[in-house]
Symmetry: C2
Subunit: 131 residues, 2 copies
DNA sequence: TAACTGTTATACTATATATATAACAGTTAT
DNA sequence: ATAACTGTTATATATATAGTATAACAGTTA
């Protein structure tokens, strides 16, 4: 687990935590079935509060990224991450839309934009992957 | 001006306002030189507070989308919107990165993702455009 | 028994969002 | 000149979110 929290960031700590765990999964650094630290352990390691970690874990659980067993602890969903449904695709479009509009106004072309997205996809890997 | 505010949205009102004005420019519905309502006028029309409008205007001004003359009122930047610099491109990448990672985990392919971006670009127009 | 697990509850601080007034200085139209 | 505008600034208040600090509960594991 390589988590880096920036206390000066505009993003809340629990959001940074969520994003970095998702990024670890996307980069195949963490795989389905792998365990995550307990809320107390991770909070202590990062020097933050247990509730902040718990909030991130709860949201990851709700999105199906992790399972939380009272006994076995926290585990990346062994069944794999649930596939995007129509609702997720709509929310993705809602988030992307203002980014595209602003970029367009600032002269960023469709080509440059999609090339950037491709570059970001390229930084992820599915080698020996789970999907 | 077709502004629609959703008080139930997770996005703050001033952000919704900002995004919709930027979207209007991107769709070529509003062009450089066009005037915008005064803070009091727009606030009254939308049924919100003058300071909320002012906050949106100040941020749009800081990004170069609009100019605010004490006398002439508020105008979409007649020189056109400033082109994206390296700093903007970096911030765009920082915002896009977690979206790509999450989408990837949920099985959205690079192709589907870029196709969505292309669709959003396609909804904008540069006919008779200013850039 | 002791040390851990997730979970829940309460309380407190700080910041962000939004509103409500009020006032100031400068235009513009009557 | 007066009245009606303009953006701007200041102050105050209410609410929600973010983060922390403790404490406790029920269950597991060594």
């Amino acid at each position: 687990m390589f988590i880096n929290i920036d206390l000066q960031s505009d993003d809340p700590i629990y959001t940074q935590l969520k994003n970095q765990i998702i990024a670890s999964i996307a980069r195949n650094e963490m795989r389905p079935g792998d365990g995550l630290p307990s809320v107390r352990r991770l909070a202590a390691d990062l020097g933050i509060n247990l509730h902040t970690v718990n909030k991130a874990y709860q949201q990851l659980k709700q999105q199906g990224f992790i399972l939380i067993h009272r006994q076995k602890g926290v585990v990346i969903n062994p069944e794999g991450i649930p596939a995007a449904d129509e609702q997720y695709r709509e929310s993705l479009e809602r988030v992307l839309s203002p980014l595209v509009a602003e970029s367009f106004c600032k002269g960023i072309t469709e080509k440059e934009f999609t090339t950037l997205c491709q570059k970001l996809f390229g930084q992820l890997t599915n080698e020996g992957g789970w999907r």
